[in-house]
């Protein structure tokens, strides 16, 4: 099967754009990626569009209504917070299958403010607040508390993740927030769901991210190999059975499975990875995923943040974009935005936040319900 390359990659600045709409924001992302590749919508053979909150609204077609109606097939995907990664993977599969050699993948979201989640009531009365909580901060607080239960991880250690990611975001002009937050500020912020304070929760923002994928042959024909990034692995999993998953979503098992498949597919190991963009939807999640992705040994996730190993310049930089905690988390865009971030580093085009010498990068997202996706990217030419 052919190698699949990313030949165009870009994203809108993440922020709040209440005067715009999903197709409009998505169109901006799509045009940015096409421009990055030096291509036009006329060149594209299929569009894969990821959007979660308006999943029934034919967002992909409405993007084409704004940038060019060429009659190409459009697939609209929703897969919770793994939506963007899922859309990208569908495009990757189509090229792998030999069906197309040039496709566009767009992730886009427009979010309201405030809490997501909660426990639905099929009949009767709402159970949120009576049978525990199903809000996202509570769900991911428990992810961290389970780690605390096993390894004694502390509130302060989780808070340090947020300090790191806010620090990183200063250097990312596409991030929603671009200012540091001191440990006291993070720990002293409003407690949302123990141990996650407000600054340890991802930011609800609007935005789009897009990539143009090409077969290796097509990338060469188009003269786009010099900036091309090869997708060494693209994996997607659902939640395998685990004992408590009916009441506590298990993001560990699906992430571990996706990571294992990705390392096998790429014939690489965690030690080969130069940078990671992982799903820090809450500060508690990041430490857990250090272990799930094999960046730290079991129980040693907190050591990575304590020793600053995951800062830019450290042993394995994680979320140098500022992560979901500071760059922002437009659900459907997130799984492509993290790809765009890694692409810019592998090309050596990340400016003041460039991870020096980055050649191989890994991206990860999880969607509640559950889905996990891992991609491994490598610079096509040294």
């Amino acid at each position: 099967m052919t190698d699949v390359c990313i030949v165009g990659s870009d994203m809108t600045r993440f922020g709040r754009y209440p005067e715009q709409n999903v197709p409009g924001i998505g169109a901006q992302g799509a045009l940015l990626a096409l421009k990055d590749a030096g291509l036009s919508i006329k060149d594209i053979q299929a569009l894969y569009c990821g959007n979660q909150l308006e999943a029934k609204a034919m967002s992909g077609q409405r993007i084409l209504h704004l940038i060019g109606q060429t009659g190409i097939p459009v697939v609209n995907c929703a897969n919770a917070c793994a939506t963007g990664a899922t859309a990208l993977r569908e495009g990757w599969i189509a090229i792998k299958a030999g069906l197309y050699d040039l496709v566009l993948c767009v992730g886009v979201e427009q979010m309201g403010r405030g809490l997501l989640g909660g426990t639905a009531a099929p009949n009767g009365i709402p159970v949120e607040g009576l049978l525990g909580s199903g809000t996202m901060p509570a769900v991911f607080a428990k992810v961290g508390m389970e780690h605390a239960r096993k390894y004694g991880t502390t509130f302060e250690q989780f808070a340090k993740v947020s300090v790191k990611n806010h620090f990183h975001s200063q250097f990312n002009p596409k991030a929603m927030y671009q200012k540091p937050a001191a440990l006291e500020e993070v720990m002293g912020a409003e407690m949302i769901s123990y141990p996650n304070t407000k600054l340890m929760c991802s930011v609800n923002v609007d935005g789009a991210a897009a990539v143009v994928l090409a077969s290796a042959k097509k990338a060469r024909e188009l003269g786009l190999r010099s900036r091309a990034i090869t997708i060494r692995a693209s994996t997607l999993t659902s939640d395998p059975y685990s004992e408590r998953d009916l009441v506590m979503h298990d993001f560990n098992a699906c992430t571990r499975l996706a990571a294992r498949h990705a390392y096998e597919e790429a014939a690489l190991g965690p030690e080969d990875i130069d940078m990671v963009e992982l799903h820090d939807c809450f500060a508690t999640a990041e430490i857990v995923h250090y272990e799930n992705l094999g960046l730290a040994k079991e129980g040693e996730g907190a050591t990575l943040i304590e020793t600053k190993a995951t800062y830019n310049g450290g042993r394995i930089p994680v979320n140098v974009s500022g992560g979901l905690l500071s760059k922002g988390h437009p659900l459907g865009a997130t799984g492509i935005a993290n790809i765009c971030e890694v692409v810019s580093h592998l090309r050596g085009e990340a400016g003041s936040r460039q991870v020096q010498g980055a050649r191989i990068g890994l991206t990860h997202v999880v969607g509640i319900g559950s889905a996990a996706s891992v991609h491994i990217l490598e610079r096509a030419y040294p």
């Binding site: 009576l130 508390m145 769901s193």
Partner: protein, 149 residues
């Protein structure tokens, strides 16, 4: 804590908050689970096959009303109208099954809540009614030392 609702009128029913809470006419309320006869996995709520071994022989059984606190968080921010703070708890029941609910009759203070602390299930009316005015009973966890109600 929770107020007891006004006495029901004859046309209103008292219902369980979730289908797996069983309110017998004479028996005490209890939670019902399903046990897989092949691999012994325990599930809460209806399903067609065992998620672990895919077998179709699932037998309803009465879950224990005692267990241990596996995991928790204190929820300080929630949707309008929901009283905070409260403790969202995950409890491993003695004899199998894991359920989520509110841990009550204890300070919502991280220093007070201990992993693996023994808890007991209690069944209490909730002060909320549905659109038809029906009343609801829910289950709660209380520290096992407490007598509950």
């Amino acid at each position: 804590m929770l107020k007891t609702p006004a006495p029901p009128d004859a046309t209103k029913q008292t219902k369980p908050i979730v289908p797996y809470l069983k309110l017998g006419e004479t028996d005490a309320p209890y939670l019902e689970g399903l046990r897989c006869s092949s691999c012994n996995a325990v599930f809460i709520g209806a399903r067609d096959r065992c998620s672990q071994c895919f077998c179709d022989d699932l037998t309803p059984f009465q879950l224990s009303d005692t267990g241990r606190l596996y995991n928790w968080t204190i929820v300080y921010r929630n949707f309008p109208g929901i009283r905070v703070p409260f403790i969202s708890a995950v409890v491993d029941l003695d004899g199998g099954g894991t359920v989520k609910g509110n841990l009550v009759d204890i300070e919502p203070d991280p220093g007070m809540i201990k992993f693996d602390m023994p808890v007991k299930l209690v069944y209490r009316p909730v002060d909320a009614t549905d659109a038809e005015g029906n009343l609801y009973v829910s289950y709660f966890f209380v520290p096992a030392q407490s007598t509950g109600s």
